[in-house]
Amino acid sequence: MQSNIKIRNGKIQIKTFNRSNFVLHFILSFLVLFTIVAPFFLEYGAIDIQTAIFYTLDNLKMMFLQPALSQVTLTAALYQILITLALAFLSTLIGAVISFFLAILSAKNLMPSYISNVIIAFNSFIRAVPTVLWVLIFAIVAGLGSVAAILGMTLHTIAYLTKAYAESFEEIDNGMIEALRATGAKWWHIIIHVVLPQTSSYMVSWTFLRFETNYGVAIAMGAAAAAGGIGFELFMASSFYYDLHEVGMITYFALIIALILEFISIRIKNKLIGSKS
């Protein structure tokens, strides 16, 4: 065999060391080892696994096989869901608009990296502060109600969407931006006429995913901030009445909403992507 072919133990090697695979394997092995070893260092207390599983299954059965509304009427529940949706919508919308501008600032192909680093750090900060705490702070400053709930949720929406948008912006083919720069176009022209049309389908998809998440968050936060919504019923049903049937019903509503949102999102996305596929 010729010079560049590596042989070890009489066998021909089919790959050689390369750093990226090494790091990849290292990380994966680390995660696997960690997952195997770390649980031994946690304190568990006493659990009777058998009864625990029996209870879990029994609870799941009550939730999903026998859903029912008892404390609230169906119309009241639907109205509360509408409120929750409205809270989620507003925080997603405000978040999305602000995120768009922040994302432009934090996309590495559109802005110098020191600006984007500042925004990324700012985002990490916002994301790390629990939503409840944000809502509490806004409730103290702005009073109880939708303002506190929506602003609290908006902050996390911003942190999340800025990251998602910025990553899609960074995937834009640099050539397009370059082509417009070469015609003497201004920066805003490029944003509106290249970045926006090219990424709109990704943005729709991320925004709807966040809308879906925000609906879940709005359930909890609407109730905490006294802005109303189905979360209040869920809270009462779960920690006050322990009414698993009602919890199950409300969960079904949440699932239906999520599926509808996913459906709309796919429709819009396909429309934007166009007739290509």
Partner: protein
Amino acid sequence: ADTGNANTSDETSSNQENASNEDTSKNDEPLTVVWYPNESGNELKAARDALGSLISEATGREVEHKLTTDYAIAIETIANGNAQVAFMGAQGYIEANEKSSDVQPLVVPSGASGTLDDAVYYSWLAVPKDKAEEYKTNGEFDINKIAGKRFSFVSASSTSGFKVPSEAIVSHFGEQEEYKDLTAEDLAESNDLFPEVLFGDSHQGSAVNMLMERSDVSAFCDTCVSNYVELVEGEANTPGAVYKVKDDAAAPFNNLTGKEFTLISVTPVLNAPFVVNQSVLSPEEITALEEAFTSDETANNEEIFVPEGSETPGLFEKSEGGNERFVTAEDAWFDPIRELSK
């Protein structure tokens, strides 16, 4: 609320002369009442509305109810004046009052005597019935025996499910050399006294912990589980009383029907007050509120004080032949609870 406005319009306008502070301009603005999660249930809507129209009639202002699921938010809201009136547990009042001395008690629902003397409910320490004997010394229940057991509280912010029992335990064991450094705060986690500490997140949850034997001893309050259990032995609210989970008990007790538990310790807890923030209400408004709450008319309002045995749930109950009503309370009345936090 509209009729209330008409009735009291004279009064409010005359008030404006006297009250020369900035509040006068706010009088048309709605008045916010904050409710704790415990009182936020839908079935209590009628009761809340009855109290709302009471307040609205007294002050001539529209009332907005704010129902929150978060204790901290409720406390902060009343403390910084984003709400004028709140109904909160004694412990919550203490904390709000510490944040702002403008928060003061307005009235407290009384006991059957119609006075502050029996304006209490009870915090229990309960153990499974078949283990009850283990907690006795010479035939008497002995709190010393809970040392080394698995313990379950309700949640760290609960008056009757954490504050009261933990302070009672600390003051009892603190006298012993072994535990003299123990503080109530330590009890929130595994400690020298309890190898394992759980939280049930609700009174029901704490009870379930004990009934499922995840904990040996659980703390919870009487009224919170009254829908699920019935007395089978002994005198209510005394050590040694045995309660049984009702056969038709709803979740989370539905798999635990028929189980029995014994009380080994009972501590009275002060009733929850209505509180006001004085910086956002004029003294006249506060007086008017006090009068409205303590009136006989209110005491006889069956939407507010629901007669015992009635089908409709209410915030407060009127026992047979009892004289339950709202009575004014001073800040000092809460000192026993305040002492616990020190």
